[in-house]
Symmetry: D2
Subunit: 363 residues, 4 copies
Amino acid sequence: MAGNTFGQAFKITTFGESHGPAVGVIIDGCPAGVEVSLEAIQHELTRRRPGQSKIVTQRKEEDQVAIQSGVFDGFSTGTPISLVVYNKDQKSRDYDHIKDKFRPSHADYTYSEKYGNRDYRGGGRSSARETIARVAAGAIAQSMLRQAGISVTSWVSQVGPLKIDESSPNFDLDEIENNIVRCPDAVMAEEMIDLIKSVRKDGDTIGGKISALITGVPVGLGQPVFDKLHADLGKAMLSINAVKGFEYGSGFDCVEMRGSEHNDLFVIKDDQVKTTSNYSGGVQGGISNGMPINFNVAFKPVATLMKDQESVDKFGELALVSGKGRHDPCVVPRAVPIVDAMAALVVADHLLRSQTDRMDLFL
Amino acid sequence: MAGNTFGQAFKITTFGESHGPAVGVIIDGCPAGVEVSLEAIQHELTRRRPGQSKIVTQRKEEDQVAIQSGVFDGFSTGTPISLVVYNKDQKSRDYDHIKDKFRPSHADYTYSEKYGNRDYRGGGRSSARETIARVAAGAIAQSMLRQAGISVTSWVSQVGPLKIDESSPNFDLDEIENNIVRCPDAVMAEEMIDLIKSVRKDGDTIGGKISALITGVPVGLGQPVFDKLHADLGKAMLSINAVKGFEYGSGFDCVEMRGSEHNDLFVIKDDQVKTTSNYSGGVQGGISNGMPINFNVAFKPVATLMKDQESVDKFGELALVSGKGRHDPCVVPRAVPIVDAMAALVVADHLLRSQTDRMDLFL
Amino acid sequence: MAGNTFGQAFKITTFGESHGPAVGVIIDGCPAGVEVSLEAIQHELTRRRPGQSKIVTQRKEEDQVAIQSGVFDGFSTGTPISLVVYNKDQKSRDYDHIKDKFRPSHADYTYSEKYGNRDYRGGGRSSARETIARVAAGAIAQSMLRQAGISVTSWVSQVGPLKIDESSPNFDLDEIENNIVRCPDAVMAEEMIDLIKSVRKDGDTIGGKISALITGVPVGLGQPVFDKLHADLGKAMLSINAVKGFEYGSGFDCVEMRGSEHNDLFVIKDDQVKTTSNYSGGVQGGISNGMPINFNVAFKPVATLMKDQESVDKFGELALVSGKGRHDPCVVPRAVPIVDAMAALVVADHLLRSQTDRMDLFL
Amino acid sequence: MAGNTFGQAFKITTFGESHGPAVGVIIDGCPAGVEVSLEAIQHELTRRRPGQSKIVTQRKEEDQVAIQSGVFDGFSTGTPISLVVYNKDQKSRDYDHIKDKFRPSHADYTYSEKYGNRDYRGGGRSSARETIARVAAGAIAQSMLRQAGISVTSWVSQVGPLKIDESSPNFDLDEIENNIVRCPDAVMAEEMIDLIKSVRKDGDTIGGKISALITGVPVGLGQPVFDKLHADLGKAMLSINAVKGFEYGSGFDCVEMRGSEHNDLFVIKDDQVKTTSNYSGGVQGGISNGMPINFNVAFKPVATLMKDQESVDKFGELALVSGKGRHDPCVVPRAVPIVDAMAALVVADHLLRSQTDRMDLFL
């Protein structure tokens, strides 16, 4: 039983290998009447695209998306929406030297053992190129959420030791797309960019963190007891390549806190129930409470180095993995649209799922 | 579309409210031939049970489990296994005073808004009493894993600011069940117990962290791309009451690391492929690589305090939530068997799912 | 991957063996606000109960149902509803003589081969006693449908060669519960009853047919392309013990018809789109069109005879299966509430599923 | 919650409208190691293709398939297999005249009401063109089944009143592909062809029946209690356009039979358990018993006539639907590969699902 489908009501199934003919997705369950714009999808793919700046991989991939079904006169029809991106830059020879080798901290070894028959070209299915499909589908989820007044924003909040301070006067979410590292603090962004350049110069890579904010979520999304809203957000994030951790609201900091400090007190504000603090991160008992939803995602340093590394091959022999190719020194700048996409897919799914919570919603 | 089912091949569906007649579970997909012992299930429930020590809630719940189907002559038959625990200590009057009030950082408000019609007695479905069903089902998953040579162990690694050091000479996993806080460091356990007692004396509560280790997992479990092994573990943990964060392998520490430091180098040891370090946490590309799987889970401080707190009620009026009842000052000692159960359920599910990865496995 | 769950949005999972402690069901996805009455559930179970008349099995099973969760103050709360019926009449000795034998046209052989470890007592999981769980869950689905103005009715339309004529003046759906064979034609009912009695006297059994009518279904239920409304109805019916065929609308008669005769012409009646004929059976393109939905289900003669039959046992030896016990000579009178239940479950599921067809339904 | 996915372990999701850019499918869950040949897929599509003979629609659609992922060196890799057929013959103007009209016994009205926003070109998603995706995916399922020794064959057994007699000396399954109506009786085939031609000359259409045989199925496929093998076959068949009925084994004939006649007696033959008759149709208790599986499927006469028909339009006005275009006078000759495909998909799914029935299968 494979695992290439995500979501229950707004459901995506992705396909494609990094060096196969195409990467794509079928969205099943998008309601009729969602505005679908090729430009909006392309916009998100362009934010994810290699070669977009000096601090990301210089591979040239245009990633032009085509809509193959499910859209008529600019709106979804309720039938499956198929999106495809054909692979252009399939430099397979780049990968011949690692055909039988297991690159450290890549999925070469595990795929080989699991399936026997591995497409070794550039990571095959384990390549982050698969996330094209997620970003494309996520753009449609975001369109649906916009129609419902919900907005998802994410940004780079840390690169190596450099963290932003959300209380700093420089912190401004409108700044995110103004710098190539996608940090909402312009001053810190410069430091991060310098760090990434310096890491690249060393032939090395570095980790990072992305933070996200979802606003406008109505009270009541999330399904007890397993499909809690934050549990599905967590799974969504952990399913992105290179992610090692997820926390929401107070996150790991809650461990050292006392209940008297951590509890979010309810108050009435503008005739609505709100909380004075938001350690709950907008989710209580797995269900959105109307406060902003926030979470953090930890990304490991990219495993492909521009340095030689000792390893083994599929014959059990020692093998040198040499540092070649065009790779990202730090994954987070390009991962921001992926986090946006996955978060939007989760919320879209739960928005649909919640429509049958109560008889009085539809009778 | 509700969310009370977990797993795809080894699939559980739970039911029950804290003050309804019963809590229980149906396991669908347990293969025939798994040893099922009432004692083993009861043993796990007893580890979770209230009143087991001085640092947990003093509610008296016996939590006697009964097997209703799917087991014959001590082994699973391949048909659904139903397990039930009848609620004994249903002191509903304890809850009348909070019938219309929203307790801070509880799920009262979100359930009320979501469903309209809330069972307000003791948290109803949002009560951690639901985890009885998970622990019972998890005991059978653990039995199945034992037959496959896989073992799951988890323990309390932090309470408030008190963390254990895995490199300490006192660290010993065999110690876990020897102290009431379930910490593998006997010296630190005493400190943790003292801290929890002192927090309780203050009418307050405190957060904690549980760490887990899964060994004996064959290479190849986990399904790309969404149902990565660690993504399903993450969702499983995040679905447990009070959990705010999940990390595996290097976790959030990876953010500050460089690739040259973080990569796990492959070597051949005893004719097997191993890695010299294990920042990957036993999972690469979402698939187990044969190394031990490890992860951490952050638990917030319990929201029920023995102190009065200001809040609002369902009529939008100010309401005082008074500190009453018998509650845990710190959730982690009793959450250890829950983490064990959820981890076992995930691995059992993926063990089954991987059986169809390759034609040569069954032809 | 087992198959004990039915439905996607209104989802049931059943458990229980004929001679185990209990049979039951969890309903996951019943919206909050559905009226749930123990009496209504019991009423349906009583229609299915053995011993209810002279033409059914004389086994004495009271089949008292209990609600274990998900209902508060007479209405569903949105959380899982668990229903259980404890087995009373567990005369296991009745079955010792067939412990190792494969009864002809029963599931003894296939279960034995599939699982290795069979609960041989009275058919175990393959017993029609499992349908108690379906009928109980179906009663709640029927309650939900009533609130939505939808009604499901089914009846015995044929026993052996005796068929009713829907155009007869005696045909009256209100008659169904007035006779023990559940035939809407009182005159034919008497003939059917006589036939069943005579077949029983021979130690033999006989087949039958059930017809069903669903009215009040809004236009738009059913999901293209696989989960067509009639395809899910068909699967539901074919999953009932002893069913060999399903047809809807014109059914198998369509084979001999021409398009010019078979097409249902649209007209406007009372400002609504209707069709002049209903060969479509209320479903077009898999989606309900507002006309009554009708279908037929074929039930084979019960396999347990009051005659000796030659067979083999699990050791590959010849074995005589002797005719013992208390069994139905014809299954259809007691199968009517099962058909009702399964039909109601399908329509309830699709009523929920259709709530997310269009953005304008919930925005 | 949409319904474009079929199967649980061998799972397909299809997309595409008749006059959109493409029709296609993602297969998720095909094990690694299945031989995948473009020619074999194309072969099945060619059997389904319009314009293949004088008795089918004369539309010219080449239906060239492309593999977009999941196949490497001629074998499946375990990752999703994406197949696409681009639409060539998109004569949209053919459909402008029915843009707002509801064609009788088509899905125009139900889609319009369900989704609001209908792609009216040639039926859109409700077009039988969607079955291209099923046939393509089915070809890969058939390849997998061949590796497992299982074979699926189906044929036209009735057109209008003309039925074949399986006991006739002319009956020969090898004959199926030798005549354009796909009937295994060459003599009857001629009569059927003549009938279809004559019906077409009348501007009319006619119904038909397809029969199928699956051999080599091991004992044990099918999952109690809902996902019985025949229940999933039934749903698969009923999900095909124009199908009105499904029966297996004795089918509707069982209604008139007695148990003493209908029971299949077990015997030992060649050291294997067999039955002397096969009214069970190879399935007992929902599980394959090793005997051949057989079933019948009823197809209604095609709804598009070459005659004018009175109808209504979406404004509630009377509207004349005129007979235009190139359509099939009888659907069964081209439906044979669709039945093959859906049957293969069901058996492939259950073959995978059964791999976790027993611990001793994989431990």
